[in-house]
């Protein structure tokens, strides 16, 4: 199956995950809906995961340290999504909005 990859360089995976990361960053900066913000953070985490898996494959590391890192990033992302959504539900319950631009009460 992998014979098709003889002319695939690591830089292509780097470019792909850089583009994905930038799209996620754009979403974090652009969107106001807190749920979409959390999803964009997941997107950025996934681009990093993809790059770690690509580097593991190109290094030929028998211990698969990069894949272990991906595994732990997934664990942290799952915990982060659970706590973030719980906070979001509480914010919605108190303000009836999920728009992050309304959460400016610390300003005054």
């Amino acid at each position: 199956m992998l014979n098709v990859f003889h002319n695939l360089e690591i830089s292509h995976y780097i470019y792909l995950s850089t583009v994905l990361f930038s799209i996620g960053l754009f979403g974090v900066l652009f969107r106001r809906n807190a749920i979409v913000l959390l999803m964009c953070i997941e997107l950025m985490l996934n681009s990093v995961n993809l790059l770690l898996a690509a580097f593991t494959e190109y290094m030929g590391d028998a211990n698969a340290n990069g894949q272990m890192f991906v595994f732990f990033i997934m664990v942290v992302a799952a915990a982060e999504a659970a706590v973030g959504l719980a906070i979001l539900v509480m914010v919605y319950r108190n303000t009836r909005k999920t728009d992050v631009s309304f959460l400016d009460q610390l300003k005054d």
Partner: protein
């Protein structure tokens, strides 16, 4: 960097799907459409994992991300009844500023990685990403982080339950907020 037409077709198609669905996640007005597009993105990233000899990661990505986390997002969307909510119209200035910032990051990272394109994929090593090898590494070298992640999950669960518990005086809080806004 080789010409783009020399790239293997599976990689091109998968990257295309990944980037397009990621763009749709960011630009879609309806949050439910965003969640569905993000699930498509995760599926194509899983296909990338399979092409990269990381079979276990592919399955875990499907189960944890597309299966669990995205269903959690959908549940929250339906719980809060946000699917029809339209975001306030943002000024064009905001979009331009966000595009410039993200584009700068893209350009900088791409330029920084410009010199790295020498490595070609070595002969595929068998069975690195299978459960047998990953389980052995996880239970020997990474045993302490593995146990610590269990503690992290317990604390995250307790925190989520505590935060999600309905308080008795939440109506008073809403009143207080309305008073503040008025």
């Amino acid at each position: 960097m080789s010409d783009i037409s020399n790239l293997p077709l599976p990689f091109l198609i998968l990257s295309f799907i990944t980037i397009l669905s990621a763009l749709y996640v960011v630009t879609s007005k309806n949050p439910v459409h965003s969640v569905l597009a993000l699930i498509l993105t995760f599926f194509s990233i899983s296909a990338h994992y399979i092409l990269l000899n990381a079979q276990f990661l592919a399955i875990v990505n499907l189960m944890v991300y597309a299966g669990a986390i995205m269903v959690l997002f959908l549940f929250v969307l339906m719980l809060l009844n946000l699917s029809k909510e339209s975001e306030p119209i943002k000024s064009n200035l905001w979009g331009i500023a966000a595009s410039i910032a993200a584009g700068m990051v893209l350009i900088t990272l791409t330029a920084a990685f410009q010199k790295s394109g020498i490595a070609v994929m070595p002969a595929p090593s068998e069975g690195i990403g299978l459960v047998k090898n990953l389980g052995r590494v996880l239970m020997t070298e990474y045993l302490v982080p593995f146990e610590l992640s269990g503690i992290l999950f317990i604390s995250a669960m307790v925190g989520a339950v505590l935060l999600g518990k309905r308080e008795k005086n939440s109506e008073e809080l809403v009143d207080l907020n309305n008073k503040n806004n008025a």
